[in-house]
Structures are given as structure tokens and as C-alpha cells.
Amino acid sequence: MLMRLAYRSLQSLLVTFCLFITVFATDLRAEDDLRAMINALGEGNFSQTAKQVEALAKTGDPKIVPALEALAAGDLYQRKSDKQVFLTKSSAGNLVLIDPLSGEEVGTEASGALAKIKVNNSLRRTVRAALGGLTLMSPDAGVRLQAAQTLLRAPSADALEQVETALAAETDGRVKTVLERARAAALLVSDRPDGEKKAAIAIIGKAGGQDSLSLLSAALASADDTLKPDIEAAIADIQDRQALWAAGQNVWYGLSLGSVLLLAAIGLAITFGVMGIINMAHGEMVMLGAYTTFVVQEVIRTSFPGLFDWSLAIALPLAFLVTGAVGLAIERGIIRFLYGRPLETLLATWGISLILQQAVRTIFGPTNREVGNPSWMSGAFELGGLTITWNRLWIIVFALAVFAALLFLLKKTPMGLQMRAVTQNRRMASSMGIRTPWVDALTFALGSGIAGIAGVALSQIDNVSPNLGQGYIIDSFMVVVFGGVGNLWGTLVGAFTLGILNKFLEPYAGAVLGKILVLVLIILFIQKRPRGLFALKGRAVEA
């Protein structure tokens, strides 16, 4: 009994040992094979090297990944003396040799003793595809995803089986979708039956995007009649969706332009819309706001560099105060003598705008001044098929916030009540004890101050130069007149309508012609509705 037990143990021990030996030996042999194959990379011309790469890829061993990556990057060298191939990194004129399989440093050589293994683009592509296949099985989902994307971009029929094995083993949802697409892409260029290809076309078509489009177009060129209709339908489908996204992007650009117009026009909606003053110096208020931002940033740059991200927040109240004070001075000094003579106000404020422009030019010089973007306003992100830049997004948010604040001020505060009262019936308001001259002055200062904070925002997307305001004045008047004088909501709707209209005309007519068309449309629109989109009703408008 004991003997039998001892025998059994010995037997199993032996078996285990034999197994161990076998496995170990295979492993060693395999490693020897790999080394030989890697060394063979150094021999022959590009196409022979490519064959070697493919052979290496067939082994499916993840150990060869560093060698292949080095090959693609041009870091793989052959030692001239013994034709051994090494990974290298340069150190003080010499090259440090790294074993391609173990990754250990095995010595240094002068660069003269080594020959670089040359790569060309087609070889690089082969390497990338091979790597794609190898990394598909990596335990890291990120690596797998990248590999799948590489394969999707450069599909090859050879990789198909690898992709299918990887797909069967894949558990991560995101990687799986990309793998499915990669499989479909590879299927398209393989010699599988048409039925499978049709399914593949459907998958690629559903994925959409520019990549899929080029895949399908390439397939269309070599497709036979059974597949052609499918591919064409898929291409049309993708193009439809792209058109939709392009329209979405246009809407976004339009909103962005609309928010700029709204910012530029909203101060004017107060001075021109509510008070009826043709303020041609409005654009210069915007410019002063932008220059305030410039000055604030200069001070921060020289004295408090850490505060740069806060520069806009600091500039906002300052710009409001500066331009509001200038506005107050203009109203008290000039405009109050001209009430009831709108055309003369126009001329006087035009004169003021010339003086302000020249003053800024004299102080700051005629060239553009640089205003930086804080970190939270730079960069962009993707949303579906849309690219959205942070500064544009913030400006839309800011424009809407200013609009809401102004609406609140006019509708819910005592000051707003007085403003509206003076606008509607000056004499009645005056007899109720409202000091109408002061309300006029404060309203004008408010409108100017808002133009100033618009300048802070616009300094982020426009050149800060003495001519900054000139570019906005005509647009601002168009927005206010189009929306309807004396109506803040009209200004909002007017700004966004004109912005979106402009951006939709641009692709067909070009930027300049689009703008001309918008101007002509506004001129025609004013013929139809001389008081704008949302006209005030009643007798007051005739006065």
C-alpha cells in the first residue's frame, strides 16, 4: 500500500517535472525563435523587413511590442559586429543598448558600431497594423481602445482574424464598439462573402464621421454591383448626418455671433432704445471697456502675476465704473442740452466718438494691444459633432447674464421704475417728484457702463485697438432697430436672429456677401415694419 502510494507520488512528480521541462523548454525555444526573428529585421530590404514584421505579428506574443515600437520610431539598431538587433537610447554621444525582449540594458556602443534599421512609410504602416493586432489583447482597456482605433484607421484583411478573436474576448463596451467598427472595416477589404460585407457597411454607415466616409469611399471604388447600392446609401446617410451636424455647428456660430451682437447692442438698447439718444459714441464706450481690461492685465502682469486668472473679474466692475463715469460726463456736459433734437445728438456724439478715439490713440498708440485669455477661457471641447471653444461659450453665458441683470434692474428696482416712468411721460414723472435730469444722467451712465463691460468680454475675441468701437456701431444700431426700439426682448431676439442668419448665409454667399445680404434684408425689413420686430404700440411712438 505504502509502496503504491510512493510509486504514485513519484509518478505524478515525474509527470509534473516532465511537464515543467516541456513548458520551460518551449518557452526558451520560443524566445530563441523570437530573438532570431527580431535579428532578422536587420536583414534585407524594406519588403523583407515587412515580411518579418508580419511573421512576428503572427506569433501574437506581446513581448515583441517594444521592438516593433522602436522600429517604427527609428530606435532599432543592428550591431555591425554580430548582426544582433538592439533597442537603443542615446547617452553622451554613445548609444545604450537595450535587449529587445527583456528590456534590460546590456551595454553601450559608439554609434559608429551600429547600423540603424531603416523604415519607410509603408513599413511603418505594417508595423502599426501589427502592433494594433498585438495590443488588442492588452489587459489595459486604454491600450486596447487605441489599438482598435489604429486598426480602424488603417484596416487590413490580415488583421481580421485577430480582431475577431479580440472581439469575442472583449468585455469593455467602448472598446467593443470601436472593435466592431474595426472588424467591419477590415471585413470590407477582405474576401469574405457579400452578405457579411453588407452588414459591415451598415455598421460603418451607422458609425458616421469623416473616417467612415473615407473608408466607404475607398470601398466604393473597388466594389462590385451587388455592394455598390449599399455603400452609396451608407455614404448618403453619413453625409446627411454630417450636414445636420454642420447645421448644428452653424447654429452654434450663429449663437456666438448673436451673443457678441447682443453684448455690443445691449447698452445701446438703453441709451438709444429707452432714452432715444442716437449715441454714436457707443462703440467707443465698448472700446474704453476693452482698454480698461488691457490696463488691468498690464498691472497684474507687472505686479501680481498670480492673479491673472482673475483679471476679467477685476476688470468688469472697473470698466463699468470708468465708462459709466465717461457716460455721465457726456450726458451732463453735452447731451442734456440736446434733448428733443435727435439728429443733432447724433452729430455731437459722433464728434465725441472721434475725440475719444484720438485720445486713446494718443495715450495707448495706434496699434493693437494684447489682451490675454485667462486659463478658464482658452481651449475647446467636443460635444457630439460640435467643436465648442470655451471663450465663445463664456461670452454667450455672460451676454445672457448681463441681459438678465439689466432686465431685473429695469423691471424690479425703484431706479428701473423711475427710468421707465421718465421715458413714458417725462412731465408726469416730474410732477410725481422724480428728479428727471438725474434719472436721465443715470440712465445714460448705465447704458455706457454696460457698453464698457461688453468691452471687457469683447476684448477676449477681438483686437483691442482704437478702432474697436467702429466695427460694432453699425451692427449695434441694426440690432436695436431690427428688434424694435425701446424693447429689451426685441434686442435679444434681434441679436440672435441676425447672428444665426449671418452664419447660415456665410457658407453659401461668403462672409462679406452674407453680411451685405443681411444689411439689405434689414433695410427691406424696416420698410415693412418701420418700428422694428417688437414695436411699441400706441400714440407715443408717433411723437
Binding site: 442716437i278 439728429l343 447724433l346 455731437a348 466718438s353 462679406v512 456677401l513 453680411k515 424696416i526
Partner: protein, 387 residues
Amino acid sequence: MITSFLLKSFDRTIVIAVAVILGLALIVPALNLLTAPDHPLHVPTYLVSLFGKYLTYALLALALDLVWGFCGILSLGHAAFFALGGYAMGMYLMRQIGARGSYGNPLLPDFMVFLNWKELPWFWYGFDMFWFAALMVVLVPGMLAFVFGWFAFRSRVNGVYLSIITQAMTFALLLAFFRNDMGFGGNNGLTDFKDILGFNIQAQGTRAALFAASAVALALSLILTSGMVRSKYGKILVGVRDAESRTRFLGYRVEHFKLFAFTISAMMAGVAGALYVPQVGIINPGEFDPANSIEVVIWTAVGGRGTLIGPIIGAVLVNGGKSVFTAAFPEFWLFALGGLFVLVTLFLPKGIVGTLQGWRARRKEYRKAAADEAARGQTAAEPVAAE
């Protein structure tokens, strides 16, 4: 009828003004051509061109005054009519260059060869003939003003709104003429002119003749506008300016009166532009700049709107000042111009001529009152003496 029109238009100030302008048309070219360069009364050629330019500006200001001063339409787009007239003349001058351009193409102007155009666009046909170009100088601005005014006045767009859409019009034209595809030379405009009606455009004699032509055009326009504002039509025009609704309620078709004045004014502006271009030698889209139109308004305002000689004086004074200022202190010209806008609107709302006329009228009234007083005193005294 024409005689009566002319007779009515000849009031004393206008007669003097026309005489002065026509006198200048003779004297300045004579002093330029007939005196030796070192003669103390010699007028150098560059000054002849400069004064000629002022005269075309004066004509433009007069055109604006017709609609603003007498009809209450503040057009902020008159520079557009001026520039269109200028472009029509510029196209004629371009066609006159012929094969002498840098590319030597007998038919196509240089910029078209440069843009690789193979044939002349249709709207350039006919501009090789002076009579056709001269017709276009008045027709194109006139048609634009007619169509624009037809829509605007019919839908009763007035006051500030009209000012803003005229500004939009000139801004749209500015953008349009900047485009190369429009076929008007894009950014660079039309320039490098060689000759006009067969005379070298650089020659002293041509310059003098252009000056004389500008003066004559200004004098004729002065007679025309004077006749217009003194006729029954002019009275109604002033009625429209002062009380549009009331005039309408009296049964006048206000929009027709306005449209006529607006169109005539645009044609005058076109003529001014056509005379301006050969004297400065270039026309480019910058002439459409809304700021230019507003500057015309200030010339008119400085001189005195609602008076016919006011805008002429204003245009010459402001532009003369501009020439002196921009040469001496270029930094301060915009301060001066801006200050002028503010001061004139605040302290001189009637302009120089209007204020002077006001003084004269008041003095006349005072004298008349004094005379009446004296006469009454005498009649009151007489019976006493008789007793």
C-alpha cells in the same frame, strides 16, 4: 417758364455767390496758366487741384443740404452717391488707359488681367464713350436714390430710422466694393488714369480745366437748387420738413416731394464724385465709408443748413482747415473735427451763415422798429407842432 424759374431763383446772395464762383472759374486757372511760377499771384497746379477738390466737396454738401436743410431728411449715405458717380467716371478713365496699362491689354483694365479675367464684364460696356459715362454718373446714383427712396418714403421710414438705414446702405456698398469679384478693382479701386477726353490728366491745362468745370457745375447746381427751394415746390418741401403730418393732411403726397428732392440730390452728389475722381486720381471703396457721409453732414452744419451758400462755405472752411491741420499737427485733427461737431451742435445750431442771417434779420427788424418808432414819434409830435 424757364426764364421765370431763373428770375425767381436770382436773389441777391445767390447772384453774388454764383458770380464769385464763376469768377473763380476764370481767375484761378488764369493765374495758374498765364503767370510765371515766380510771380507773387501765381497759383501752383497742386493748389488748383486742391481747390478743385474743395469745390466738389462743396457740391456734395449742397446736395446734402437740399435734402437735410430743406426737407429734413438726414441722409448718412450721401458719400455713397458721391462714390458711385466717382466710380462711373473712374470706369471711363480706366477704359481710356487702353493698352498703356502695365499688362498692355487693350481691352481689360490691369486689375482684371491680374485676376485672370478673360473678358470684360457686361457692366463695363459702353464706358469707353464719354457721353455714356457722363450719363451713368447721374443715372446710377439717381436710380439708387429713386429705388431706395421709393421704398423708404412710401413706408414712412423717417427721422432717425432713415438716417440709420442710409448708413446701412453705404456700409453694404462699402463691403460690396471691397470684394474683388465685384469687378471694380476691389481694395485698390481704380487708379493710374492717363487721360480724359484725349487730354493728359496730369497736365497743367487739364487740371485748370477740371477746376473750371467743378466751379461751373457748382454754380449751375446752386442756381438749380435755389430755383427749386424758391418755387412753390420748395415751399411745400419746407412744409414737409417742419410739419410732415400736417402737409400730408393738407392733401400733398409727401413721399413724392421727398423722393424728387432725394433723387435730384443724389444726382448732384454723383456729379460731384465724377469731378472729384480725375482731380485726385483715384477712387477706392474707402469713399463709401459711413464716416465720410457723416463728415459731409458736419460741413453742412458748420456752414448753415437750410441756407444754400452755407454748405459751400462750410465745406471749403472745414476741408481747408483739415488740409492745414493734418499738415501741421496730424495728431490733433480728429480732436479738432470732433470738437467742431460738438461745438457747432451746441452753440451754432444754425451754422455760420444761418447765424449771420439771423443777426442781419434781427438788425433789420430793429432798424425797422426804430424807424417806425421815429415815424410814430413824428406823427405824434406833428399835431403838437401844428397847434
